[in-house]
Structures are given as C-alpha cells and as structure tokens.
Symmetry: C2
Subunit: 381 residues, 2 copies
C-alpha cells in the first residue's frame, strides 16, 4: 500500500505502451503505476513517476521490484515462468500466474490445452521434421511455439523447402491447417482472483501482414448467438486456465464456425477501443482484476467504435507534431493516443479511435486520422 494515499501499488513488468496506458487508468483510481522498464526512453518510463530500470529476465531485479508492489502484473508475456514462481514462493502476488501465463507463452501448450478442453481450434500437430509436415498436409501454417508476436514466428507454407532452415534450427514448432478465413474476431474478458468475470462485446479485427490495423466494435453483422458463444468461450477459457487479469481471445470466423487463433493475457491491441468506447477501459479493468476489485461495466459507450493503429511510415518531410495538427484540424472528434515512440516504418507508434452512430462513418474518420499520422498527408478519397 502507498502510505501517502492509502491505495495499493500495482507494478507492471515492461515499459511499453500497455504500461503507459495502464498508468493513465491507475491515476484515475488514485494510484500511480510502478513500472519495471529496460530503458528511460520506453513509452511508460517517459510518463510514470515510479520507474525501476531493469530486465524482465533478471530475477534479482524482479525481486527488488516485487517487494515495493502489492501486486505484480505484465506489459508483455516474456517473463520466464520460473521467475514468476520464485516471486510467488517469496510471498508476492503475481497475476496472471505462471500456470496460466504458460498458455500465452507457448503455442504448443495452448493448442494442447484448448484441445483437451474441447474448445474449437484449427486442426494442428506438433512437428519436428519435414516428413511430419508433409504428412500433416500442405499448404499449412507453421508457428514457432515460443517468442512470436505481431505475425513473427508465423509462416504460411506451401512447400517444405520454404522452411527448411527453420526445421533445422531446433525451434519447437507446431503446424495448423490453413483455415478458410471469413474474418478475425476478438473477445476481451477480465477475471479476478475471486473468480468474477466481465466480458466485453465481440469485436472484428482487421490484420495486415500479421499486424492488427483496425478494430470494429461491436463486430458488425455478427449473429447474436455466435457473439454470445464467443463470449462464453472466452469466459470458459479464462476460468479453465485460471487467468487473473485481462485475457484476449483472438478468433477466426470460418464457414464451420469460430476457432481460437491466439491468447494474450494482458491488455491487448484488440481492446484499445475500450478507452473511450466502453464504460470501463481494458486498462482499468486489468487493474481492477489483479487487485480483486469488483469489475467495471463493459457496455459500449457509443453504438459504433473504430480503432485504427498508427504505424511508423515514411519520413515524408513532416514531423509527428505537424501531422498531429493536420489530424486535429481534419478530425476534431477523433481521439488520439501516441505512445511517445521514435517512428520506425511498421512500428506501432499510436492509435486513433472514432466513435459515433454509424460504423462506416467511424471507419472513414479513423482511417483518415490514422493516415495523417502515418503518412503526413491526406487520405485520397
């Protein structure tokens, strides 16, 4: 507890944009997020009052960090499970726990566990040789079990020759059928240690090159029973895996129904729309969950909400500050979130959110705003 305020201290391991936005939510709750960052220039370290520098793989740094926190949680999924267990053994609260987090860290474990639970997943198999891959059938999707994100570690394979080096690398791999994809959906659910859950409306996520570029909330033209089924599936996974905090369940919509693609156990890009678009943001909800506070209302704050990611674009001779001026002049109602990051082509440097009564209008406004920030020029009609 912070003796100055009488309120708990949540520590977040990792200083990226998720910690940055969680700090904003913590401020409203009377708190100040404590952040373990690698560098003073990281997104969250630029804005938080209470930053410890250190690596998420350094157990000594983690121990020091945890001692000054009431609860420890994560900006990313890269903290080794044995370190989490060591912190818990020392009496610290860490959410989500290692037993849950392993399923977000390891795709092989995740697929096996979801199959055991009878949750819908693509046909899959572990593979360790070209022969096993051929036996599974091509084309298919090969994934490294560990370490992938934003499309890295995921390979659409038509011919074994394409991944011969990967097969020889010794990396643990799984293969999945290439499903007939109608679109991608996602569901956020929060779960407290007590077991209270709160689930958000199902959203549609639009991907480009494996990176989420746009989120539509609620997912348009989704049958009510399918939406309800997706929410129930997310709740069941959170319960069965013992998740505490936010769980994002990424789904493929196929002609045969929904299948689970990925799990993330933290606030997630597919939930950034909740900052203005839901009564309770995913960042506040994550704090409530790890603190065992009662969950907040997940209702939509507007009939249509669209989030568009802002990626680093070509230089184009216009500074980010000038781009922001143009965006604000063109779209006075669009909400901007910049992460304080140096621009690099393809890097997520922020997002924008448009709210309103009409989905098509919100998409157009978010696209125009995102285009200004990414390219420094107007989107051609």
């Amino acid at each position: 507890m912070d003796t100055r305020t009488g309120l708990p201290v949540v520590g977040m391991i990792g200083g990226g944009q998720l910690a940055r936005m969680t700090h904003q939510a913590a401020i409203a709750l009377g708190q100040s997020l404590r952040v373990l960052a690698n560098d003073v220039d990281e997104s969250a370290a630029l804005v938080a009052a209470d930053v410890q520098l250190g690596s998420h793989t350094d157990l000594d740094a983690l121990r020091t960090f945890a001692k000054s926190c009431d609860v420890v949680t994560f900006d990313h999924e890269h903290v080794p499970g044995e370190h989490i267990r060591a912190l818990v053994a020392a009496g610290h609260k860490v959410f989500p726990g290692a037993d849950a987090l392993q399923y977000a860290q390891d795709k092989h474990l995740m697929r096996r566990r979801l199959s055991e639970l009878g949750a819908p997943v693509p046909r899959w198999a572990p593979i360790s040789s070209a022969a096993e891959l051929v036996a599974f059938g091509l084309p298919a999707v090969v994934k490294t079990a560990r370490g992938g994100y934003d499309g890295r570690g995921v390979f659409v394979v038509n011919d074994v020759e394409e991944i011969i080096d990967l097969l020889a690398s010794g990396a643990e791999l799984i293969v999945e059928e290439k499903v007939e994809l109608r679109r991608e959906l996602a569901v956020q659910v929060a779960r407290s240690p007590y077991g209270q859950v709160a689930v958000y409306p199902v959203v549609e996520t639009v991907q480009q090159d494996g990176i989420c570029v746009e989120v539509l909330a609620p997912a348009p033209d989704l049958a009510e029973d399918v939406a309800l089924g997706a929410q129930e599936l997310a709740i069941r996974i959170a319960n069965e895996l013992g998740v505490v905090g936010l769980l994002a369940v990424e789904l493929f919509e196929t002609p045969d129904g929904l299948v689970v693609n990925e799990l993330a156990m933290r606030p997630h890009n597919s939930g950034h729309w909740t900052i203005e678009g839901a009564r309770t943001s995913q960042f506040e909800q994550h704090l409530r969950a790890v603190l065992d506070y009662p969950m907040g209302d997940t209702a939509l704050a507007a009939p249509a909400v669209v989030m568009a990611n802002v990626l680093g674009g070509p230089d184009g001779g216009m500074s980010i500050d000038e781009r922001l001026h143009h965006l604000m002049a063109a779209e006075p109602g669009v909400k901007v979130h910049l992460y304080g990051k140096q621009t690099r082509p393809g890097r997520k440097i922020g997002h924008v959110t448009a709210l309103g009564d009409d989905l098509a209008d919100c998409r157009a406004r978010a696209a125009r705003a995102g285009h200004w920030l990414t390219y420094g020029k107007a989107l051609e009609a």
Copy 2:
C-alpha cells in the same frame, strides 16, 4: 520540444488535481506534463515523471522551470502577474498571459472590466468602509478582491457588525447585491493563441457551503436561446480578455436572466464531467489551446452526465480502499477519479461521474457512489 518524442513539453505550475488530470490527457497526446510542485506528495507529483520542486512565488524557480518547457500554464491562479511578465520578457510562452489572468486573480478588476464590456453582472461597488457598505444596502455579498476560492473570501452580510474586523483589515473588498438565485450554471470555453474557440454545453452546478458538489450536463430545462446566450457570453469574455487556454464562466440564473459570478482561467471543477462526458476533455482541450493545436469536439458523449465531488468525510473506520470496493460493487458503471490526497473533512479528494440516458438515474448513481467514498456507508434511500 522533447527530442525523444518530437512532441512539445507543456509545463504546469502547481501540483494539484488539475495538473494530475492534465497529465493523463498529455499522455494520450504523446507528451508528458512537466509539473512545478511544492511537495513530492502533491496530487500531480505522485504520478508525473517530470516534476520540479519549487514555489510558484519564487521567480528563480519559475525561470528554471520555464526554460525546459515549450509552453507554461497553470494549475491555479496564484502566480504573481509580475513573475508571469518576467517569464514572457525572457522569451517564454505563458498562457493565459498576465493581462488576462489578472481578471481571474482580482474580483475588483474582473467586475470593472465586465461592466465596461456590458456583460451582465450583479450590481456591485468597491468598498473600503462600513459607511460605503451601508450606503450600498444590506443584505449584500462582500468579497475580498484577491485570494478567495471554494467559498473562502465570500461573506453574506446582513449587518455591518458581522464584518467589522474584515473592514479594518485593509483587505481590498467589493460588495455585490444578493441576487435572487434560481440556480447556478457554468460554461467552459477554450481559446487558442490564434483565436480559435471551442465552447462546451452549459451545465448546472450545485453548491454547498460555497463548494461545488454536483454538476449536471447539459443543464436541465434550460431554454435553447438562454443556453446559446451563455455560450456566446463566454466566448465574448474569452475574446475580450484575451484568454488562452480554458475559461470557466460561472453564472447565476436569476428571474432577470443570467449574471456572471466568477471567472477561472484553467481547467475547472465545473468541467470535470468532460473527461468521460464530452468527446474532448477540458484537460486535453486546455493542452490543445495553450499549444495552439486545433480544438477538439466538445459534443456530449451521452445524453446525461452527472459529476459529484468526493469530499473528505468522517473517519468512520473504513479505509479509502475499502470504500472504493463498495462503490465499485454497487455502481459498476460509475467512473471514479481519486486525487491521491490525504483525507481531511471537507477537502476535495476526488470525483465520480455517471453517464446515461436519464438525468435522474445518473444523479442517483453519482450520489450513491460519492456517498460511499465520502462516508464509507450506503446512502439511505
């Protein structure tokens, strides 16, 4: 400019809750608010990464502070005008400027200027003796020209004897007629150096003992022409006084129409509802204004928005953290803002906001939530 982000640095003098909430808004815009605070335990100093300790009356501290900012602005109105002029003379941007801010610092100057402009004000006069007060007529409202806030420095006087000590103190005083008050209203308007203005819907403010306890947005049962007139008045005052940043115009509704009560040139308690209740919060709008960014949309985010202040209450044997649990369980849709302050009876320690379709429902929810935080028990029906 912050060379790490390519975005401007706004410095705010004063480390209270207004700076705290402005920091939240700055984070979204890719910035980090720089704060000049008296103490490490002040509301904003607890949460901001970039804090300089120093007094707002110490010109050397102000000079050091201003050197590291692109623009300097204020959490309160207590910085001496000559210090502001000295910073501007040294080449710093300071908004609002001393010429505008004097009207928020000195009620005598404000009343004289508004009278010159033909703006509606209560009948008033400067007084320096009991005889002048009697000549003005009693009962009346006597105010110290400088230094008052939250009802301090304001005296409803029925008999000269009641303020005989004040009259003898040498404090500069004005007297105003005790208007027949139907209710109090307020309007927020933001103005940029370029002169762009953005005005928010008119709200009703409910006061107790001179402290704002509740704000209803939009003001219920207000004729459209009266609302429009109030917005036009606020815009005219902002323009005539050369305000840059937020201006809050507090109004009395009387049988003869609206009259101006007070002016504040900063984000203001009567605008806290905008955080969730308007597309652009007053804190973001203030940053946009002082940076000469295009203004944001001021539209309501819900048909009805109610803010209730949370004051420090009796101890009652329940910690603020326990009170927060009860509030969250009882009112999952109410938004909480705690300022990280030690509880003292009557001190503003936070606020809550309820949004929805029905004003009466929002008032009831906000009242229940505020009651839990203030008293640590349920509001009796």
